[in-house]
């Protein structure tokens, strides 16, 4: 086991120096229980300290270590070397995002879009704390629980060809989170979110490739959230046409 090695081809991009990313080859010891992130940490610690990448929790919770592993968006803390060995592994920054350096991408576009869908509980009038919590039935929780699992890892954006071709597209995770709050029985902010979700650059840009749900490490199923939001937007449109004196 100790003699086994594995080869990683890692994308390198030095801003201001390189015109485009290039692949650098590292051959390192192979450990069956290592994930790609462990391999990158080994390279950083033992081979090449200049390698840049994001990571934090190492347990699929923080959503920081998303990268392209052999062309597929993955959390590198959950991509085991044993699933690739003895083949070499190509590690690149998340597709569809501008690259800051090596494997670090610029996520400001996603953060701006996330803010636009207001992914928090909106109340028209907050009740006094003395009146207690906003109670919810188990089935009311079940209606949106699946969509709360999103960890903002952006693998879905990386898998979405629409976002790659039309960067104005609101994108899978932001729509799924907006939809999640619309479904929440405690929320009253649908009227504020729906114009963003139902806009041309919102749900209607989606052509339902479905790859966002395939790569989601938390089984959020953003593709379903987008298609169901389309139904909601269509209902709003029908109401606006049939009830011109005001939507209910």
């Amino acid at each position: 086991m100790a003699d086994k090695t594995i080869t990683l081809k890692v994308a390198r991009y030095r801003p201001g120096q390189d015109p485009a990313p290039t692949l650098q080859t590292y051959t390192i010891p192979y450990r069956q229980d290592w994930v790609v992130l462990d391999a990158l940490n080994h390279i950083k610690d033992q081979v090449d300290g200049t390698l840049s990448y994001r990571w934090s929790c190492r347990m699929g919770v923080c959503g920081s270590c998303g990268m392209m592993v052999n062309g597929v968006p993955k959390l590198t803390c959950a991509a085991f070397l044993r699933d690739y060995h003895p083949r070499e592994i190509r590690v690149e920054p998340l597709a569809n995002f501008p690259v800051i350096r090596d494997l670090v991408v610029d996520i400001t576009d996603f953060l701006d879009k996330l803010k636009r869908v207001k992914p928090w509980l909106i109340r028209k009038l907050e009740k006094p704390i003395a009146e207690g919590e906003y109670l919810q039935k188990p089935q009311e929780l079940e209606a949106y629980k699946q969509f709360t699992q999103c960890i903002n890892c952006m693998l879905c954006y990386s898998a979405c060809p629409v976002y790659g071709l039309e960067p104005e597209f609101l994108g899978p995770a932001a729509i799924a989170l907006g939809y999640r709050y619309n479904l929440d029985s405690r929320d009253q902010g649908r009227e504020e979110r729906q114009p963003v979700l139902g806009a041309h650059d919102g749900v209607w840009q989606c052509t339902f490739v479905g790859e966002c749900s395939e790569v989601c490490p938390k089984h959020v199923d953003p593709a379903a959230a987008i298609q169901r939001s389309k139904v909601e937007a269509a209902k709003d449109w029908v109401k606006a046409v049939l009830l011109p004196w005001g939507q209910r």
């Binding site: 062309g71 597929v72 690259v99 610029d106 339902f208 490739v209 298609q227």
Partner: protein, 137 residues
Amino acid sequence: MTGTRPDKSKLYYPKMTPTWWLKRPNYILFMLREFSSVFIAVFLVVFLIQICQLTRGPEAYADFSQRLGSPGWITFHVVALLFALYHSITWFYSSAIVLPMRIGETEIPRNRVVALNLALLAVVSFVVLLLFISLQG
């Protein structure tokens, strides 16, 4: 927030190539699903022309139908049928995602909804086929 934004002039902006859809099996299946609409649209136009021939009399209709019997048109219709079947199957898979079905509080598993829809498609197709055969007779 603005102060932490990276210098845009130093970012590398990746571009998608025209062959992006060849990179993953699901992308290819998606493109095939979209491409199926071209064959179905052409089939519908040909079908409309065929109906229009009826208004021009039995001879015009027979002449047009005979032309549709050429190997080229038969090949086209076989390919269009395969695309229509593929489109129908993907449609039922998609509709199960878009409109989840419930019995009371319990959501019916997607696979069962798809299986039910496909079974209905098969039954309706069989009935249409029987009608067609009986009309031919």
